[in-house]
Every structure is written in structure tokens, then in C-alpha cells.
Amino acid sequence: MDNILEIKNVTKEFPGVLALDNVSFNIRRGEVHVLIGENGAGKSTLMKILSGVYQANSGKVLLNGDEIDFSNPKEAQLAGISIIYQEFSLIPYLNAVENIFLGREYKKNGVLDKKRMTEEAKDLLDTFEVEIDLEKSVNQLSVAEQQFIEIAKAVSINDNVLILDEPTATLTNQETEILFNLIRNLKEKGVTMIFISHHLEEAFEIGDRLTCLRDGKWVGTENISDLSEKKIIKMMVGRDIGDTFPDREGKYQKEIMIEVNDLKRNEKEEFINFKVRKGEILGVAGLVGSGRTEMARALIGADKVLSKEIYINGKKVEINSPSDALDNGIGLIPENRKSQGLILGLSVKDNISINSLDKILKSNLFINKKEEKKRSQKLVEDLNIKTPSLKQTVKNLSGGNQQKVVLAKWLGTDSNVLIFDEPTRGIDVGAKLEIYKLMNELVDMGISIIMISSELPEVLAISDRIMIMHKNKINAVLDNNEDVDQETIMYYATGGEQYDRAT
Amino acid sequence: AQDDDQISIGMSFQEMNNEYFIVMREALESAAKSIGAEVMYTDARHDVNKQISDVQDMVTKGIDILLLNPADSVGAEAAVQYAKDQGVYVIAIDAQAEGPIDAFVGSKNYDAGYKAGQEMAKDLNGEGKVAILDGIPVVPILERVEGFRAAISEYPDIEIVDVQNGQQERSKAMSVTENMMQANPDLDAIFSVNDTGALGSLAAIKSANEDIKLYSVDGHPEAIEAILNGDIFQATSAQFPRDQVRIGIGIGLAKYWGAEKMPEKIPVPVKLINDENAEGFSW
């Protein structure tokens, strides 16, 4: 087996951050090479260097033995390296065909050959076994559909090396399976792949070898068959962290904290009704597109509803906007932290205090800046947010730390009900554990948590009860006991009615 | 008012993209040159607030005499006041300015409108449908329209069927005229408050192949040329911008030298130019 890529002493510095520190390892021809590491370890940065987005400050990369120095992604593509970015990079108002062929349009007689492109795109997507409306602009498609279009785009360039930066973060299990089949197919065709994921089990499922980065440094490259999950985690965080999930305590109280009645967004939907007790974690499971996010948004008044009754501590409250929700102690930690959770250009402090400013007023008018700093500093310490200072703009934090900033913001408001929408999406194991622990601390304080998650192990490990949605309605609400497993949840999530254990 | 002996003259124009004012600037420069005076000028771009700033800056620079071509009669008062307070002699040119000005030099605008109206009535043999292409509502323009209306009122069979505003700007006047012709298909003649507007009308009438006679005020070289061409543009009441400036400077200098008994208002006559006397006319 020879090396298709040799990474030698690559160093990359951003202002104030050493993202990659003298990293060296090789990628073998035809393998699926898994790259792991905590948030901010430098994985995406390294991949962006390979694909010509960034240039290394020092060190070199050899492709088939020749040194490469791409100054833009096109050059990398021409040399056979393409990448699917962690952040979506589709054009929202163009359709699937237009996106797939962007930059390499077919022409006939000097004008666009739309027919040929449509046909080829269709063929390509057919091999993925997904049906995508080719007429619709991609911003009208689901996240998963967009993901497949991205992959189709990369694959159709017919690469030597395909880089997938957390492609599964937004996919369901089934969709992940389809993706893995695709990866196996490509591997058979001789495509070399670099695969980044925070899901360790995925490494075992499709990976050949694994490289781990920590704080921008290379930690090791091993055959996956020689590794165990525990070992990988130790490589990542540099120590044993014990279990991946904290112990579930289930100490919730009797009183109902929040009761949602007759929530309905439009005529086509059925009513949604549920309750959450004080100090309880209600897990919300369901397939992508089952309407969990939309339920949550409707609940806090971010979107319009047809009908909705909400009781907090038995008292009826009117929630017609997120600010009503805030006033009544309900907060949403949204699923897309960059576009919905953070003000990327503002500092850590400003982000954290944005919705608790009126709690710290001087003479009822002015911001008490000392108090603001103190409170923010405390939250940063409590949540162990890695940031050089309170003044750092959140844009420069890694994903996990950004997520914690959103959390800190809501902890600062003394809310009683917190809705976490995919709280651990794109977050490393260490940070995940911290977030789980934090949830436990919150429920200990009597806060109620609604946790929307597509990761079934997480739902099973954290929730007191599990609510399963299917096609915008609640299909089942289960007490989370020994009888409930992934299979049960999937059964209801796919529309099953009365679950019969015997069959 | 300044420490050195050289006389310094400043002129603040309401705008500087009309030949009328450019000619004034030329007269200003050549007159100043012949007496060895320093000269400066500014362009208010129709904004009287900018004009005040411009005047302040020129006064700061040390002018002795200010020729003020006001963008607005009332609004220019602050500029007049400021200049007077600093001991500068202020002569309003072309349009009246409020405040303690030393003199006003301007055309007999009422006459200009009246003469054009008379000429139009004569050409139409006392009957027809006519329209007014109005302009920016400042006193001289208003007086022209007044004069024109007075002349027309002497002819009961001439009807003013439309009044539209072309803002004294060529392309604007052109499209306004187009619409005017649509709304009044049997239009015989148009009176424009100035030549720039009339030239816009001319473009519209020509490309529509209509037969509508044009009358105006100013004496703009292109208008003279059009009159000589002889088909549509019939006459313009010519003003004498160079003379306005020359008289203005003269009065300013007299004041500067200490003259006390000076006329406060010097109306400059206008002259009707038609195809008979257009040859050789120029500002």
C-alpha cells in the first residue's frame, strides 16, 4: 500500500490561535481514513489546507509524491481532491442540478446544456437511492437532502481523494446507512476518503485507519482494528473520561412545570399535547423532518400557530413571541447555533448577557457593566468555556465552545424550561459529557428540559421520558425504562402504532 | 476689509451647469483680470444651505465683494447677513436675496415673459391652444410666468390648456413635453420659462414630428441656433448675464471705494430675439 497523501510538518496559525502545530501523517491510497479530535483540534483547518482553501504557514503536503501548493479549491479539485465542507456550501436559490454542476457546466453550441446536466444529476442521485425534487431551489429542501446534493456534487467531480467533514452530523441513522453504502461503493472504485466525525462508532463501521489530533498536534495514527472506543477517547482528550454518559438520576418531582395543550400550526396537522414535570428531562425523538424543531419553535412563539395553550406551574400564559417565552422562563437552544444561536461578530460576554441585561440595570436604565462582566465570567468558568477572554468574538471559538456560549446565555436568564434542539450536534465526546452533566445539574435545580435529539443513544441515556414524533404529531410517549431501546424508538418514529414486543 | 491691497471678489452661484451661469463666470473672471482683482467662485448645486457654507468659506478666505446668485431668496439671508457682518459688500445677481444687500442686479423678468407672450400671440394670430413649461419656483421664474400670462390675457382666443413643470432641466423637460403633447394633441405653442427647458421641449417636439411653436427666455446659444434654423423655436427673450455681472462688480467696487449714493436695484432690460435679429446675437 502506498501513500496517496503525505502531510509533513504542517503548521497553521490564525491570529492568536495555533490551529495546527507541526502535524505529520500519511493517507494510504484507497483507504477510508478517519480523522477525529475534540472541537477546535484543527481537523477542519487541516482539510481546508488539503483542499486549497487555506495555505499552511509551514510544512508541506505531497500528493502522489509531488509537493502540492494549491492557492484555491479549483486547483485542488483539478488535482483530484474535493471536499464536502462542515458548513453547507450550496447556493440557496439554485436547484440541485445547478448546484451539482456549478463551475463545470456542460455547454452545447456555446450555451448551457441543461438537458444533459439534468439527466446526469438524476442518474447520480438515483444511485444514492434518494428522491430529490430537481426543480426546487435547495433552500426549500431538507437538511439531509441538501447533504446528499453536496455529496453528489463532490462525487461527480470523480476524485482521487474525497474529504467528508462531519457529513453525518445532520443525518438520521437510515440516511447515514445510505451514505455509508455510498462510501463503500466509492471505496471499491478506488477513491481515497478522509472522514471526520464525532461519532466514534462510525469510525469502526467504515474506517480503515484513524488519526487523532489534539490542540492542533498530531496524537497518533492507528489501524482501527487495533482500537477500542475507550482508547480513541483517551487519544482525543489525553486521559480516561470514564463513561460517555453520566449516570441518569431521574429525580424529577411530581409537579407539572409546563403543560402544552392543543398546539397546532396549521389545518393539516393534529393537536400536540404534552407535559413536562419539574426537574424532568423529556427526550424528543423522531426522524429528520418529523417536526420536532417546528414544534419547539411554535412553542416559544418563534413561528405562528393556529392554536396553542401553555400552562406554566398550572398558570395559563400567553406566548406569542420568543420574548414572551423569555418572560415566562422558557428558552430555546436552537439547532443551528451559527445562524440562530449566536451573534458571531460580538464578544463572548455580549452574547452571554444579551437577554439578561435588564436584570442588571443601574438606576433602572444603564447596564451595570461590572456586574455584567462578573456574571459572564462566572458562566464561562461554570461551563468551562475555552476562550482567551470575555472579549473574544465568538466567531473564533470552536463549535463546542460556541454551543456552550449559547447555553450560558440561557443559564443567565434563570429560565425554568429549557429546550435543547440537537444540543450535541457536531460536538466532541468530552464536550458532550460536559453538556450532559450540565443538564443533570440543571434538573437538580428544578429546571425542566426538553431535549430534541436525533442520537438515540443520547436520548436513551439522558431522558426521563421519551416523546416520539412522526409526521408532525406525537406518536408515543414512553417512560424511559429497561423495556425501551433504540428499536422501540425507531418503531414509533417510523409511524408504528401499537408496539407489540412479541412480534 | 482685508489687510492686503488686492481686491478680492467672490461669487456664489446657485448652479454651474448652465451656460447662462458659465457666461457669468467668464465675465467675472475677465473683469477681475482687467482690474487685477483676485477672484473665486462656488457652486451651491441648488442647495441654499450649501450656499451659506460656501459664502462663509469665501468670506473666511478674505473676499471684499460678494456677488450672490441666490439659490433661494429667503434662505440666502443668512449668507447675506454673515457677509455683511464681516464687512463684505453684497450684490445679489439675477435673483433677489433678502437681508441687507447693497444692491440687486437682475433682468426685467416680467418683461421677458410678457415679450415672449406678445410674440407668441402675434405668430398665432391671436388664437390657439398653448401650454406653459414651468420651472423651479423662484421669484424670477414666477415673474416670467406672470408676464407671459399678462400678455396672453390680452388675447381672449388664446387658451392656456396645460401647465407642467420641467424643472428647467433638459431631459426632464423633454419627457414632460412628450406627455403634454399626448394630453393635448392640438397644442399650438409652448412657453418655457427658460431656454434649457425649451431645448428639452424642442427635442421632444422634433422626434414626435409635431408642429408646435416654442417661446422662451434666456438667449442661450443653442436656442439662438435653433431660432436661426427657423422651424419650431420662434423666439426667446434674451437676458444679458455678462452685463449683470459687470454692473454688479461696478457697484461693488463703487461701494468699496466709499460711494454712498447708489441705486439699490438695477433692472437690466431684456431683448426679444427672433429669426429677424438672431443672426450674430450672443451673450
Binding site: 479549491p73 | 451647469n17 433638459r170
Partner: protein
Amino acid sequence: MTGQLSDKIKNNNFKELLKKPEVLTFAGLILLSLFMSIFTDTFLTGRNLVNVARQISINGIIAVGMTFVILTAGIDLSVGSVMAFSGTMLAAGMADWGLHPVLAIFFALLVGGLFGLINGTLISYANMPPIIVTLAMMEVPRGLALLYTGGYPLSGLPSSFSVLGRGYVFGFLPVPVLIMAVVYLIAYILLTQLPFGRYIYAIGGNEEAVRLSGIKVKKYKIFAYVISGLTAATSGIVITSRLMSGQPMAGTGFELDAIAAVVLGGTDIAGGRGSIIGTIIGAFTLGVLTNGLNLLGVSPYVQRVFKGLIILLAIYFSSKKKK
């Protein structure tokens, strides 16, 4: 069952159609025209419609370049000044330097394209915000035009040159309208049939993603501004011929009319979505509005109020649809 289904499809298609903002504006245009036809007896005459078409040609042509720029999520406030400067240079070419009209026209286009190139380069390479670059560029070319002419309009153009602004083809179609039609046709082909057009839309949708796709974003963005410069110059040529003189002060405020036409035509001011057909509809709507109000004898002051309110109304409906 099948009947129901096809009904549903039809219904959907119809709804889809209604979602296109330019369709809405088109409906508005029809309504407006209907209104004018009923309340004036001159609106619906051949001569008047030809007139309206000629009146909008200046703004219509400028709006083409503006469409390209706005699609890339940019804006070009310099069009009026560039138009004035190109027109002035055209007149200077013929009157002062004795160039053949055709040569002078090329020169004028070159001047317009050059300013587009400068705008585009500053925006693309120096990463300066379009609104500011082109705001500053409202001053420079106009200043140069005034400087060159000393403030005078430049006249003395060869009489043959008047055909571009005042002539007719087939006896009824004004040349400016023909020029406008050609410009729109070219723009239509560019935007819908060539990769270039794709990139223009894509850049407005997600510039970073387009860059990562290996497309030379900077180059195409510059092209958009060059096109805007060229259409401004084309308008400058038409207006110079119409007025038979180079007018350094022409085009003041034209940028706002062009933007209004583009946005009335349903193009998203934030870029990425829109169509050139929408733009011509938008330009016609503005033209019919002004013409109609004039024919109705509405005072120019009231016209301003009307114009503002109607733009608001149109955008209100189209932004409601978009949601």
C-alpha cells in the same frame, strides 16, 4: 380521482406562478394600464404607447446593468454619473476631436466599461462595500464631465447622429426602444443560457460557497459592474443623441429609478433571486405610472407622493409573496 389530482397540479402550478414576484408586478402593470385607459382617452393610443416605451428606454437600459449588480448582492449608485460622463465623452469625441460617430460611440462604451471596471475591482479585490464605492463614484465621473466641459452642455454634434435618439425603424419603432430591446435580449441570454449568468445568481446566493467551488468570483463580480457601466454608457449614448448634446448634469437621481425598476421587477435586493424580464416589467410600470399621472393632469407634487406609495405597495405585495 385523476381529475382531482390534475386539479391539484394545476392549482399548484398556478400558485407557483403567483409566487414569482414579476408575475405580480405584471398583474399590477396590467391593472395600472387598464385604469389609465379608462380614465384618460389618450393613454391607449398607439402614439402614446410608443411614447411610453421611448420614455422608459433610458431608465430601462440602465436597469439592465443594475439587475446584474443587484443579483450579485451589490448595488451601483454611480450609474447616473457614469452615464453623464460617457455621454459627455461621446459628444466631445464627435464635436471636439472630430471622431466618426461610430468610433465615438465605442469610446463612450469604453469609458462606461472602465468605470464599471474600477467599481468592480475596488469591490472585488479591495473588498470595499458596493454601496460606498459607488456612492463615492457618483462624484468622480460627474466631476470629470463638468471639468471637461466647464459646465457647458457640449453641442455641435453631426446631425446624422440624432438617429439613435430620435429615429424610427419600420416607421414606428423608436430607435431607443430597439436599442433597449437588444440590450434586454443580450442580458436575457447571458443570465439564462450561459454559465456566466449562473455564476451571477450563485454569487448573490452564497458568495463564499461559489468561491469554494473554484469559480473566479472576483472576476465575475467585476463583470457585473462592467456590464452596469456599459449599460449606463449605452443610456448615455441614447440620451446624448436625443438631446443632441453632451449633458454633464444628466442622470442625476437615475440610480434610484433604476433600482426601483429592478426591485419592482421582483429581483431580491439581497441578491441571488430575480429576473431580467421582471426588470423590464418594473421599468414599464414606473413609465406607465409617470405617463398616466401626467395624462391625468395630476400635479407633479402629488405625483411624487403617488409614485412613492405605489412602489411601497408593490414591494409590500411582493415581499409578502416571497415569505
